[in-house]
Amino acid sequence: MNTPTALIADDEPLLRDALAARLGEAWPELRVVAMARNGREAVELFERHRPDICFLDVHMPGMNGVEAASLIGRRAHLVFVTAFDQYALPAFDAGAVDYLMKPVQPLRVAQTVSRLQERLHASQPPMDLATVLAALQPPTALRWIRASVGNTLKVICVDDIDYLRADSKYTQVAWRDGKGEPCAALIRTPLKDLLPQLDAASFAQVHRSVVVQLRAIQQLVRHDNETATIHLHGRNETLPVSRSFLAQFRQM
């Protein structure tokens, strides 16, 4: 059998190290291949390392553990870690989901480890947590988009997107990274499939092939032929506004 691998996601560094140390005592063969500081990093690092097990803190900034778990799905055995959560804990108990309470107690870690070892040994597929997770995080408007940049996978928060542009079979996503730098990537999902999942209060379709985040608009320049051009904050490229979509800007 291959060496089992694990990922640990927690926004508090001391607690990441503490869990790694506890796991080292209880399961010396387990190799912790990645440490993530939030749900977004957890998903990105999962895609890169494909560990067998993910330990996910429920409360993390940006993407939380429940959202990350839904994106990882059944591709890893999931163990939630939480200090306390009045909603999640009963749901985990009811759904027989593995979880650890912070501060993590050696005995509890040992129990969890032996359960995981059994499953890995028996080559059991990871449990399907979709129902439990959906109950905890009701799917609202789309929050995260996964995009490949080179050979790494990026998880983009929908709030960070400036605009989406249809590009033959793909959709071009233009967004800001953590430092506010403009980035761009292509995703496979067609624009017409993304559009209904976006929050209509923040995004507007301005062209057959362009959807823009309203706050990203710096100014709208009208032309004689009832079209217009959108200039964006901090970006050089402009976006076209076609005749049929110009009406929504009459009030602005």
Partner: protein, 350 residues
């Protein structure tokens, strides 16, 4: 609580007192007289009523008294001035036959009526004003007590809110998990984290009954809280605390600083992957103490524009508490720029 009695034009109590006093004087006058008692009593009662009307009018008019001329003097003067003509008028109204000035006896009788009015009227008026003043003072005390109990209510609420918001099981167990991690690692940091947690918890447990603390206490408990958060998220929380030493002994509503800082952590630092910074600045400025707490905001929050409607419940409660303890001299203002949120509390130095 209602201020109706002070402005109502008709006061049954005042009327009753006037009737009794004037009636008694009437009985007193009627005894040595061979006149029918009813007539004598009706004269004193009418005179008394006219004097009461003058007293009541002077109470309400003019609306603003000239400087250095107290209203009670004016009310007394009005009562005294009205009594002689009222007495003569009442006398002549209730007397048939010749006008009173043609008969010296009648003039004398009217003068006796006026004299009795002048003898007793001012005392009744003074007694009335005194009892009114007392009632007013009672009302004031009651209102003050009400304010005080209101203050202790919102104070208790603020503490409860803080407990709910931060000293939750989630906060406590996460912090304890950090203590545990440091102890396991044999780190000397464990002791300092534990003592910060103790200081913070002491602040969250009610200990001052008057709802006041000092800037020094506020800064201490805020430092304890920020030390905990910085140990827990060393890479995500940066803070800078500047306090004018002259402000340290000042009295202030308890939890004022902690509420602002807790708010900054919850809305500025917690939701951000990269974290952010909190700057605290406490300074004295022309007789006022100014507490400034600024925090960085997530970029996407810039979306909503300059004004976001409404403050969080924590800040609304803090504003209410500031007004209850400092009145209109205290203020809580917030402003939001592209990437920063600033809360500013100001109050006059007592």
């Amino acid at each position: 609580m209602s201020s109706a009695p002070a402005t109502a034009s008709f006061r049954p109590r005042r009327l009753l007192v006037t009737l009794i006093a004037a009636g008694l004087i009437g009985v007193l006058l009627a005894m040595p007289s061979d006149f029918p008692a009813a007539v004598v009593i009706s004269r004193t009662v009418m005179t008394g009523l006219l004097a009461m009307i003058a007293f009541s009018l002077a109470e309400r008019w003019p609306r603003r008294m000239p400087l250095r001329f107290p209203r009670w003097v004016w009310q007394l003067l009005a009562t005294v001035l009205v009594i002689p003509p009222a007495a003569f008028a009442c006398y002549s109204l209730t007397t048939a036959g010749d006008p009173i000035w043609s008969n010296p006896d009648r003039i004398e009788s009217a003068a006796i009526l006026a004299f009795m009015g002048l003898l007793f009227g001012p005392w009744v008026a003074l007694a009335g004003m005194l009892s009114q003043r007392e009632a007013f003072a009672r009302e004031q005390t009651l209102a003050l007590e009400l304010t005080r109990s209101e203050l202790s209510r919102v104070e208790a609420e603020a503490r409860w809110r803080l407990l709910q918001a931060q000293a939750t099981p989630h906060f406590l167990f996460n912090t304890l998990a950090n203590v545990q991690a440091l102890v396991d690692a044999g780190s000397p940091q464990a002791a300092s984290l534990l003592s910060s947690l103790t200081d913070y918890l002491r602040a969250a447990v009610p200990h001052t009954m008057d709802g006041r603390s000092s800037i020094a206490q506020e800064v201490d408990m805020t430092r304890a809280y920020l030390d905990i958060m910085r140990t827990r998220m060393p890479d995500r929380l940066h803070c800078d605390i500047r306090v004018d030493p002259a402000a340290l002994p000042l009295r202030c509503p308890s939890l004022v600083l902690l509420t602002l800082v807790e708010n900054a952590v919850r809305h500025g630092i917690d939701p951000s992957e990269e974290g952010g910074s909190i700057d605290i600045d406490i300074a004295l400025e022309s007789g006022r103490c100014r507490i400034l707490v600024a925090n960085s905001m997530l970029a996407q929050s810039r979306a909503v524009g300059p004004a976001t409607p409404g403050l969080g419940t924590g800040l609304v409660a803090l504003r209410e508490r500031l007004h209850l303890s400092f009145g209109e001299t205290a203020s809580l203002a917030t402003e939001r720029s592209a990437s920063r949120f600033i809360a500013r509390v100001e109050f006059a130095i007592a």
